[in-house]
């Protein structure tokens, strides 16, 4: 899987690259407008991470260029601007997702995973991990072909873990993921316990191995 990180802040693109590197992703970097245009013209990527404020030009122009060249690359905008206008404009031009800085790397990984799955597996979007089978379109989960009924939040969590395999996920990253934009109350992270406990229980009861490990007391890791 090839990923292009268009971001002018090297410290950030390096972090993203380092996090994604172990996930079978091959990352390339572009630090300004010209480099980005060169790269997208010559190569194809599975997913492009696009910062909107770049030296040398507007990131939205790059997005327009990608669409004009009829490229199938998935695009996730990562912007410091939490502006609704930019978001709507970006999605209208054809970005697949929009993530506001600052974000947790697991969150980014989950978005990338979902964009790539959507782009490449279209109608038959089923993830198989040993005895576990997840149908992304129907949003169903089965273990050894037995259906497991998960709530929306639990299903969401499962996907989040699977797109961050073998990574340590902190409680704060999970809390932010689960509560989305609405909540201003991350000082209390306890609400995630219930969801994780239930997810674990449902999966193990259906005969799934316990892949979800608790680390350091409050961190989690999907080990496979």
């Amino acid at each position: 899987m090839k990923i292009l990180i268009i971001e002018d802040e090297p410290a950030l693109s390096k972090s993203i690259g380092a996090y994604l590197a172990d996930e079978n992703y091959l990352c390339e970097y572009a630090g300004n407008f010209g480099q980005a245009i060169d790269k997208i013209t010559v190569y194809d990527y599975d997913c492009i991470l696009l910062d909107l404020m770049l030296p040398g030009g507007d990131g939205l122009k790059i997005l327009e260029e990608i669409k004009e060249q009829n490229k199938q690359d998935g695009v996730i905008i990562i912007s410091a601007k939490n502006s609704l206008d930019d978001k709507i404009k970006g999605l209208q031009i054809g970005a697949d997702d929009y993530l506001t800085k600052p974000f947790h790397l697991p969150e980014l990984a989950a978005r990338i995973y979902s964009v790539i799955r959507r782009k490449q597996f279209g109608n038959v979007n089923i993830i198989e991990l040993n005895e576990l089978k997840i149908n992304l379109l129907a949003k169903t989960v089965s273990v050894n072909d037995n259906n497991v009924v998960l709530t929306k939040k639990e299903f969401d969590l499962l996907l989040y873990f699977i797109s961050n395999k073998n990574k340590v996920i902190s409680k704060s990253a999970l809390a932010e993921h689960l509560s989305g934009d609405v909540a201003d109350m991350f000082d209390n992270y306890d609400f995630i316990y219930v969801h994780i406990k239930n997810l674990k229980k449902k999966l193990t009861e259906a005969g799934c191995d316990n892949y979800l490990k608790t680390l350091y007391g409050t961190g989690y890791k999907w080990e496979i």
Binding site: P102, L105, K167, A173, F191
Partner: protein
């Protein structure tokens, strides 16, 4: 308080009255002298009674005439004063009305009418300078808040990503993990403060202008569902009395932020196993949660007015609420009664 010209008029009237009263004996003396001179010239002798009568007559007529002139003067003064204060002071009143209507928040400019009176023209130009200076400082401050928050996003993103990476280091100790988590929490708080500051600046910059009719009842119910993961976790119950079909005019994003902030506060500051009352009717929204002490009303809606170690909010939630309400001329209120904090928004 009395008008400036009325004060001067009273003095003028007093002085005129005084002069006229003093003039009575003077007139009498002069006329009497002339009268006696004429009598002596024509060798006319008067009886003592006739002479006394003449003196009284002269005094009477002089007094009457003086009073008459005084009245004439008074009427003239009053009429003139009215006209002068209307005409002469008109530019002043115009400027005053302009300043009264001026609101720094609303970004309108003030243009004073031209006047040919030097003092007023000077006043207007000074006012113009003062207001222009104020607007410039205000804009600078807003721009600063906007730029600062934007510039902060990228370094925050870098710190966040480094922490996430640090977490992936093999064989962290529990202690090290806790350190990272503490840093994460603080970072999340900075991020929230920054986001809210940005939001405040945007509202102040008159963004989010588009309006629509919003079904507030439905929006409120949806928000409550959204927040149920937090309330259930604290074992809180929503005691709802929500009238159906309450609609308001406003920007949906802003109204959502308003509701979310009020509900968030109620959930955050309510001890476990309690009830939060939420009442919505066609006039107002009330959110009440149990508490022990009344909050400081004057600090409540200010930025960072109520932050402390025990209340780990962003310190901006209620000022956002206030800002949104003032945009739509809604009234926000806080009262404390029956050991309950009651926040209300009157539409």
């Amino acid at each position: 308080m009395s008008k400036l010209l009325n004060r001067t008029m009273k003095r003028f009237m007093g002085y005129a009255g005084l002069v006229l009263i003093i003039s009575i004996p003077v007139y009498y003396y002069v006329i009497n002298m002339l009268w006696h001179h004429e009598l002596d010239e024509h060798k006319i002798e008067l009886t003592a009674a006739a002479g006394r009568e003449d003196r009284y007559l002269i005094i009477l007529f002089v007094t009457l005439l003086t009073v008459l002139f005084f009245l004439l003067l008074m009427i003239g003064f009053i009429l003139l004063n009215r006209r002068i204060s209307k005409r002469l002071w008109q530019p002043f009143y115009n400027s005053l009305a302009q300043i009264k209507g001026f609101n720094l928040d609303q970004q309108q400019t003030v243009s004073f009418e031209e006047t040919d009176i030097e003092e007023f023209s000077e006043l207007n130009s000074s006012l113009n300078k003062l207001i222009a200076g104020n607007i410039a400082v205000y804009n600078q401050q807003k721009e600063f808040a906007d730029n600062a928050s934007h510039e902060l996003q990228t370094p925050l993103a870098i710190i966040q990503s480094k922490l996430d990476l640090l977490l992936q280091t093999k064989l962290l100790t529990d202690e090290q993990y806790d350190l990272i988590e503490d840093a994460n929490k603080a970072l999340a708080r900075v991020t929230r403060i920054n986001k809210n500051l940005l939001l405040l600046t945007k509202i102040e910059n008159s963004q989010f202008m588009d309006k629509e009719t919003i079904d507030l009842s439905e929006l409120l119910e949806n928000s409550l569902i959204l927040f149920s993961i937090f309330s259930e976790n604290k074992n809180l119950v929503f005691d709802k009395d929500i009238a159906t079909g309450v609609t308001i005019e406003g920007n949906k994003i802003l109204v959502e932020i308003l509701l979310n902030n009020l509900i968030t506060n109620a959930i955050r500051y309510t001890p476990n196993d309690n009830t939060i009352q939420i009442t919505l009717n066609h006039k107002a929204l009330f959110i009440a949660n149990p508490g022990t002490l009344s909050l400081q009303q004057e600090q409540l809606f200010k930025r960072f007015g109520n932050t402390s170690a025990e209340t780990p909010g962003t310190g901006l939630g209620l000022s956002l609420v206030k800002q949104i309400c003032s945009r739509y001329n809604w009234r926000t209120d806080y009262t404390f009664s029956d050991m309950r904090h009651i926040f209300s928004v009157t539409f």
